[in-house]
Amino acid sequence: MAKQWAFYFDSSKCSGCKTCQIACKDKHDLPVGIRWRNVYEVAGGDWERKNGNWISKIRSYHISMACNHCKDPICMKNCPNNAIYKTDEGLVLIDEDKCMGCKYCQWACPYGALHLNPSTGKMTKCTMCADYIAEGKQPSCVTACPMRVLEFGDYEELKQKYGDESEIYPLPSANYTKPSVIIKPHQSYKKNVNWEIINQEEVHNE
């Protein structure tokens, strides 16, 4: 089977510290306003009143997400200029020369992975630190994490180890694009909870 690089993210131990986000910003000199990796703070549940006390039925976890280098990337399909391509190791990359900044890819991507760089006028996204991978190293976010919750490897190998869950709120069904990401859900995670992203101003992607 052809190699497909993938991320594994252990949401059950992520503290939301955003070291992954900042490591990525530093490596790629991203200005304020562009975050290739975002950390979403998700919370659900309620506060209940019982015997004069407030009881917490609150659940919360974080999702750290960059680009999932999908196996069937909707951004690549839709780009009129063929500016997005997939390498033979599964990385989905942007050829900036061809990009005309129409943002059609950003409209489509259900993982919010595409970002317009206003100073160059080109779309940008996580490259999985392709240059590091070529040297046999790991992406910057992975080696940065103080809680060691990010892992990087071949999708099939990671799937063997960890399963193939990726549809944790707020992430969509994997059927749209077949993302190369595996997530271990937080122990408080379950479907059908009133989940909400509570740090929206920190993560919102235009």
Binding site: K13, C14, S15, G16, C17, K18, T19, Q21, I22, A23, K25, D26, K27, D29, P31, V32, G33, R35, V39, A43, G45, D46, W47, K50, N51, G52, N53, W54, I55, S56, I58, S60, Y61, H62, S140, T143, A144, C145, P146, M147, R148, H186, Q187, I198, N199, E201, E202
Partner: protein, 807 residues
């Protein structure tokens, strides 16, 4: 503040000029010529010996230098991998040593270290010495030369010293820099050579916990090495948030490992903190300031269910019951008396505690039983709950629970208290010698504003030690690496009023890297270089078994100098230069510091040259067999007695008893209602409790406004949806948070991850009052009080009642 609204320029376009190519070539020529400098030459040639180019790692035109992350007062000491090209740091990565094991884990930097380029090259860094024009506090300055500046400071120190005496001079508490040669210790050393300055004891971080722990254990070294946590079955993180503030690099990682090894983790905290999300199986929200009630109820449950370790108590403790009280105190209220209510008629049942702390009695009972039976168990005390009114009580109560359950001196247990690392006390933090202070007078660190107002009247009851009474009010403040004056000290508005009065403190000098709120109140501002622009060294933060070197990477830009160099030049004006410098330059001092570690904690540490050559940045000693505090004592309490009066763990302290203040300094740990609490009359006007937690985006007030950090964690007032709804407040809109001491107006963040009745404004944001005096950035100290705790004379800065309003 200008730099907070800075447009995002790319990091490669900075105004702070690194040394020109010509200067760098000059440096290399000197090296190539093999010119050695005698240590006494601390002129502009200073630093030429610094980077022997041949030993550094090269990757094409990029030089890799591994250095310690600049030591501010975060909770970590980590390794940065700096990529340097054309004399500029273009990339920052972290520890990349091959091994990342429990015994010797990588020291991975957090966002504060990873974003350091944004601080290092920040256009707002101070560049020149400046003298005040306009009124004090206005923040208006004009540049002057170094000669003029240092002459001014020296003359002022001499004048005040001659007129009022050395004890009228204060070099305030400051933890802004800790790399040996940047930091207040350099100024302290100088002052100690020229007659001294007003001493102080305690800290803003740990006043109560450092004071109270020895009353129970006779020492502050009560913590096992952290690798031992994996042996625990049950860990209570009580008001402890290592995933955010760090508390020793990797503490959160070790708790994660413990959990992987089967430990159950409980977080007891008014907020569902980052640590609660990442590490806990259960979050127990608790009303701030009521922890002792829950701890007492836990003790009640444990005793009533016969789950206490009777053998251990008999062998190793005193004060638990009548049978083991100190002489003369047999009839006094002992620990069990209080818990069971035999003397005051109030059994500290879970139902009693529930009304106070808001935790359901079933939960208190269950956690008590779990803690006592799922052994060995850890009860880790965070520092927030002791930075409050009567904070001493929660410390002692938090030590009593491990004692009565026999969790002391065993692997997987935890004795509690301040928990400096066994067996040798852990990291030194600072080895740069300050010498001894000729001034014997010491005040509690938090009472410096009192010393300004009425120093001459302060005596023993005000915490003065070393002398009976201070002989002067404070007249001169020389603040180095500190943002205490305005920002971190309590009651900002009151502090500002005191400092503005030039007849009180006659001269204020502030030595810093940025125009902080404290710097705005200076009469003289001295610009300091960053820790990447000088030689330095750091070891662990509270915990850890490593030494991290910090090679000089840049020349100090513009006219900045290191704290050490400023003090050395000042020393010259007092004729003590040689005593101050010992004829060592900066690098030689670091060599000397490495030698100190060699003679104490790390006999095998290579010398500085070798460390630099290896370029791993860090020398670490793997911890295969974690030291256990009180192991010997537990085995044989008679052979290895504690340094307490009884030689044992004191659940009842005769020393405290003899102080004769049972209402505020009881001999046994008691719940005492705070002087500003939801249960007092003050709650009618100000019904909400306010917290100021240690935010991920800052280290206290360091890093405030750094753009990447502000983007990741904007300064907000966090409020529960129920409290917001009651006031018609929408998410993101500006709200007013206020009490009688001041007003804050900032955008809010509605979050369910905080208890109803509690609001949180992360501490450290720089005071930014508008025309009406309302702070617009969210400096929590606008709301805090100068009132101090009874025993430790500590800051009760988390005891705050406020009201919140929609604007």
């Amino acid at each position: 503040m200008k730099h907070k609204n800075q447009k995002p320029d790319s990091p490669s376009e900075s105004i702070t000029a690194p040394p020109s190519r010509r200067e760098f070539l000059k440096l290399c020529t000197f090296l190539g010529g093999g010119v050695l400098l005698s240590g006494g030459l601390l002129s502009c040639l200073e630093g030429n010996k610094e980077i022997p180019v041949e030993v550094l790692e090269q990757k094409g035109d990029i030089t890799i230098v591994r250095a310690g992350c600049p030591a501010h007062n975060c909770g970590g000491r980590c390794v940065l991998k700096l990529h340097i090209k054309n004399n500029k740091i273009i990339r920052i990565e972290t520890d990349d040593r091959d091994n990342d094991t429990l015994e010797d884990p990588q020291l991975r930097a957090c966002i504060r270290g990873r974003s350091y380029r944004r601080r290092q090259y920040h256009p707002d860094r101070l560049k020149y010495p400046m003298k005040r024009i306009g009124k004090r506090g206005e923040g208006k300055f004009e540049p002057i030369s170094w000669d003029e500046a240092l002459d001014l400071l020296a003359n002022q120190i001499k004048r005040v010293r001659d007129k009022y005496g050395n004890s009228s001079i204060l070099v305030p508490y400051g933890t802004g820099s800790y790399n040996q040669l940047n930091g207040r210790q350099t100024a302290a050393r100088l002052m100690n050579l020229i007659g001294g300055s007003l001493g102080f004891y305690n800290s803003y971080s740990w006043a109560c916990i450092s004071k109270a722990t020895p009353y129970v254990y006779g020492t502050s070294v009560t913590g096992n090495q952290r690798q031992d946590w994996v042996n625990s079955k049950y860990i209570i993180m009580w008001g402890w948030n290592p995933a955010e503030m760090r508390d020793g690099t990797n503490s959160d990682f070790f708790i994660k490992k413990a959990r992987e090894n089967g430990a159950k983790v409980i977080c007891i905290d008014p907020r569902m903190s980052m640590s609660a999300v990442a590490l806990a199986d259960e979050w127990v929200p608790i009303r701030p300031g009521t922890d002792v009630s829950m701890m007492s109820a836990m003790a009640y449950t444990i005793i009533k269910n016969n789950l206490h370790d009777k053998n251990f108590i008999k062998k190793c403790c005193i004060g638990f019951d009548r049978s083991q009280m100190p002489d003369g105190c047999e009839n006094e209220e002992n620990y069990s008396d209080y818990i069971l209510g035999t003397v005051d008629g109030i059994p500290k049942t879970p139902e009693w505690a529930e009304k106070i702390c808001g935790v359901p009695s079933e939960t208190i009972e269950r956690i008590a039983i779990e803690y006592a039976t799922q052994k060995p168990s850890v009860l880790y005390q965070g520092y927030g709950m002791q930075r409050r009114a009567y904070g001493e009580q929660v410390v002692i109560a938090g030590c009593a629970l491990p004692a009565i359950t026999g969790n002391v001196g065993i692997s997987g247990g935890w004795a509690g208290g301040i928990a400096l690392q066994a067996n040798d006390g852990g990291p030194f933090w600072n080895v740069f010698p300050t010498g001894s202070n000729p001034v014997k007078a010491r005040i509690p660190v938090f009472l410096w504003t009192e010393a300004i107002l009425r120093g001459k009247e302060m005596g023993f009851e005000d915490g003065v030690r070393g002398v009976d009474q201070l002989d002067s009010n404070l007249k001169l403040i020389w603040s180095v690496a500190s943002n205490i004056l305005i920002n971190q000290h309590a009651d900002t508005n009151r502090s500002a009023k005191i400092l503005k009065d030039t007849s009180l403190v006659e001269f204020i000098a502030v030595q810093d890297q940025f125009m902080t709120p404290s710097a705005k109140f200076a009469d003289l501002v001295l610009p300091v270089c960053t820790q990447l622009e000088m030689w330095g060294l750091e070891d662990g933060w509270k915990y850890g078994d490593e030494v991290i070197i910090m090679p000089k990477v840049h020349e100090p830009p513009y006219q900045t100098k290191s704290d050490y160099q400023i003090c050395a030049e000042l020393a010259e004006r007092f004729g003590v230069k040689e005593q101050f410098t010992q004829n060592r330059n900066e690098r030689e001092w670091i060599e000397w510091a490495v030698g100190r570690y060699k003679n104490t904690r790390f006999p095998n540490i290579p010398n500085l040259d070798k460390l630099e050559q290896k370029n791993t940045g860090v020398y670490s000693k793997p911890v295969d067999k974690p030291a256990i505090a009180f192991e010997n004592f537990r085995r044989n309490p008679n052979k290895y007695p504690l340094k307490t009066p009884s030689g044992k763990i004191e659940l009842f302290s005769k020393t405290l008893f003899d102080m004769g203040k049972p209402e505020t300094i009881p001999a046994i740990p008691k719940y005492i209602q705070e002087w500003e609490s939801p249960f007092g009359v003050e709650a009618k006007k100000h019904p909400l409790q306010a917290l100021g937690h240690h935010y991920m985006a800052r280290v206290h007030s360091t890093h405030d406004g750094i753009d990447w950090l502000d983007e990741a964690f904007p300064q907000r007032a966090f409020i529960n949806p129920l409290d917001a709804q009651k006031r018609g407040i929408q998410n993101g809109e500006e709200i007013l948070v206020y009490n009688d001491r001041g007003k804050i107006r900032i955008p809010c963040r509605i979050t369910p991850k905080i208890m109803p009745g509690v609001v949180n404004i992360p501490q450290g944001a720089w005071w930014s009052p508008d025309k009406e005096g309302v702070d617009r950035r969210g400096n929590i100290n606008v709301l805090t009080s100068h009132r101090w705790t009874p025993l430790a004379y500590g800051n009760a800065q988390h005891t705050i009642m406020v009201e919140v309003e929609k604007i």
